[in-house]
């Protein structure tokens, strides 16, 4: 099965509690158990959630929002990314709280329901198109019906429909000369087809979320809960794959995005536990991209990077993309072409231990 199919089928089991301030009946309603698509957005779950709680809600206007341990959740971040970022030790089901009142307008940008989410998605797609093609005309010129079809395919998790419409956009795929050369060598014969040449880009849209912790840890569950977005740096910056005569890896991409962490190049010897995509899939039927690193003779869940003194003050403890912890040596072009979200962005979560 191809990687994008795995990504699209990935889901996070949620246990959604109604905030106590909005419970008007006794006993309080039990939490709603909902399977949320990784590539989706929390406000889109409203139609599924409301029926659970409608009889207990106080009267008035409903504006849905969520929090995790008191942290209001940014609705424009895909559900899977929020989970990877805020639950380094994957909690299943993920316990979050839903609110229908008291929207924190000073922290969260307003969300007027499905429309807001759709426009946020389209704007991200425009941005990705600009990065890959050098302009966003293809997205701007989408017909109304194509736009709707694309959006519905995302809402419904329909990869086939999505690929049908998105291929019309002719968004370039990420090219890596070295990786494709290697691939060609390993194949005995490369059959030329009549397909039009696929446009290639060297610029990859990336959104990086960096959680910084001040205390070192051995187990992921030692990572303190995130209580403020101040602890998370958000870096929205394209990565340009440099065409050199070696493979451009995930590691190389991180060096570009977080140069502060790679001051001491000579000490590069970072190894992080990685999981084969196939193994990850076989392990779980719900969250397809299950993260549990193969437990090696009862050792800790997350192997610490060895000799990871990248810089004396900070080191990367964890990298997660679509719930997977890829090895740093993985070709970045593969990651970019296979683990991207429907908005054509690669969302990467990183946990960094810093000196405090």
């Amino acid at each position: 099965m191809e990687a994008p199919k795995y990504v699209w089928e990935g889901a996070i089991p949620l246990q959604i509690h109604l905030h106590e301030s909005q419970v008007t009946t006794l006993p309080p309603p039990p939490p709603a158990l909902i399977l949320a698509p990784r590539i989706g957005y929390l406000p889109l779950l409203a139609p599924l959630i409301k029926p659970y709680f409608s009889s207990t809600l106080p009267p008035g206007v409903d504006t849905i929002w969520f929090d995790c341990n008191g942290l209001p959740l940014k609705w424009y971040i895909p559900t899977g990314v929020l989970f990877d970022l805020l639950c380094p030790e994957p909690e299943r089901p993920w316990n979050i709280t839903v609110h229908f009142r008291g929207y924190p307008g000073n922290v969260l940008i307003p969300c007027e329901g499905e429309d807001s989410v759709k426009w946020s998605f389209i704007n991200s797609l425009k941005e990705a198109a600009y990065i890959m093609n050098g302009n966003c005309k293809n997205v701007m010129n989408m017909s109304q019906s194509d736009q709707l079809e694309l959006w519905h395919s995302v809402m419904n998790g329909n990869l086939e429909a999505y690929q049908r419409v998105s291929s019309k956009l002719k968004l370039a795929t990420v090219d890596d000369e070295y990786a494709s050369l290697c691939l060609q060598k390993s194949q005995q014969s490369v059959i030329e087809t009549d397909l039009p040449a696929q446009a290639k880009t060297g610029r990859v849209p990336v959104r990086l979320y960096v959680l910084s912790v001040s205390k070192d840890f051995d187990d992921l569950d030692e990572i303190p809960r995130v209580d403020s977005w101040e602890k998370i740096s958000y870096i929205n910056r394209p990565v340009e794959i440099r065409k050199e005569d070696k493979c451009f890896t995930l590691h190389d991409a991180l060096k570009i995005l977080l140069p502060e962490l790679f001051l001491d190049e000579s000490l590069m010897n970072v190894k992080l536990g990685g999981v084969d995509l196939e193994d990850a899939v076989r392990n779980s039927n719900e969250d397809v991209t299950s993260v549990k690193v193969v437990e090696d003779q009862g050792q800790n869940v997350c192997k610490q990077p060895e000799a990871c003194r990248i810089s004396s003050s900070a080191k990367i403890k964890l990298i997660r993309i679509q719930g997977i912890e890829p090895k740093l040596e993985i070709p970045f072009s593969w990651v970019a072409n296979n683990l991207l979200n429907p908005d054509y962005f690669l969302h990467v979560c990183v946990c960094v231990k810093v000196a405090q």
Binding site: I109, W119, I122, E127, M140, P205, I235
Partner: protein, 229 residues
């Protein structure tokens, strides 16, 4: 040095910084009734001091309320020769809080502006937020009432593509921004429409001033200057 004919209208991050300083300088030297722009460093990570080279421009508490529904707020500016030049209708009202006539207890609305570099689009982006004199934030539909008629028309035509609301990249609060996807194109046109073929250094000097003279018009802020200066 790059030839403007082959230029795509964009700036590198380094060029943005140079251009920003040039802009702030010219702005201040023109004796506009506006306060000067401040250069603030971009906070990147909570555990690192912000890098000095990365920053953005900030201008606070600009009154965007229009004293008169029909007229735009025009700004008197002085070009290098010292002559006074006014824009369009010959209206010589200077935008100055002290002399602004309030009609019918019309509450004053203010705007904070920020010019932030976008590494995606490689151009400056205008972020803004508006509020009343008591600090109460203004939603977009109320801001719209203050904008010149042509802006509100644009806004209603393509609400979601022209002005978007999103989280400020550094201040992490909801701000509005003017969508930058067309900026590179019209910036290139702006410099090529003049028959002179300026050197890139000149383009850089004037980039932000030219850019702001266009985007500022959304808010009825006009600054005049000539590229051939």
């Amino acid at each position: 040095m790059m030839d403007v004919l082959h230029w795509d209208g964009t700036l590198s991050a380094k060029d943005f910084r140079i251009g920003a300083f040039a802009f702030a300088q010219k702005w201040e030297s023109r004796n506009l009734a506006f306060p000067p722009w401040s250069w603030l460093p971009c906070p990147k990570h909570p555990w690192l001091a912000p890098p000095k080279e990365e920053g953005y421009l900030s201008l606070e508490k600009i009154c965007i309320s229009r004293p008169n529904e029909e007229e735009d707020i025009d700004q008197i500016s002085q070009i290098e020769t010292g002559e006074e030049e006014t824009c369009c209708s010959g209206n010589e009202d200077v935008l100055d809080d002290a002399t602004l006539v309030q009609s019918n207890h019309h509450e004053l609305h203010y705007c904070d502006f920020q010019i932030v570099y976008s590494s995606t689009f490689r151009v400056p982006v205008l972020y803004f937020r508006a509020y009343c004199s008591d600090g109460r934030p203004l939603p977009l539909d109320e801001i719209e009432k203050e904008l010149p008629a042509c802006s509100s028309k644009e806004l209603s035509k393509k609400k979601w593509t022209f002005i978007t609301q999103e989280e400020h990249p550094y201040l992490k609060r909801p701000w509005y921004k003017l969508h930058p996807c067309g900026t590179a194109e019209w910036m290139k046109l702006l410099f090529l429409s003049d028959n002179a073929n300026p050197k890139f250094e000149v383009v850089l000097e004037l980039y932000l001033l030219s850019w702001f003279s266009v985007v500022g018009q959304v808010f009825g802020l006009r600054i005049s200057f000539k590229i051939s200066d």
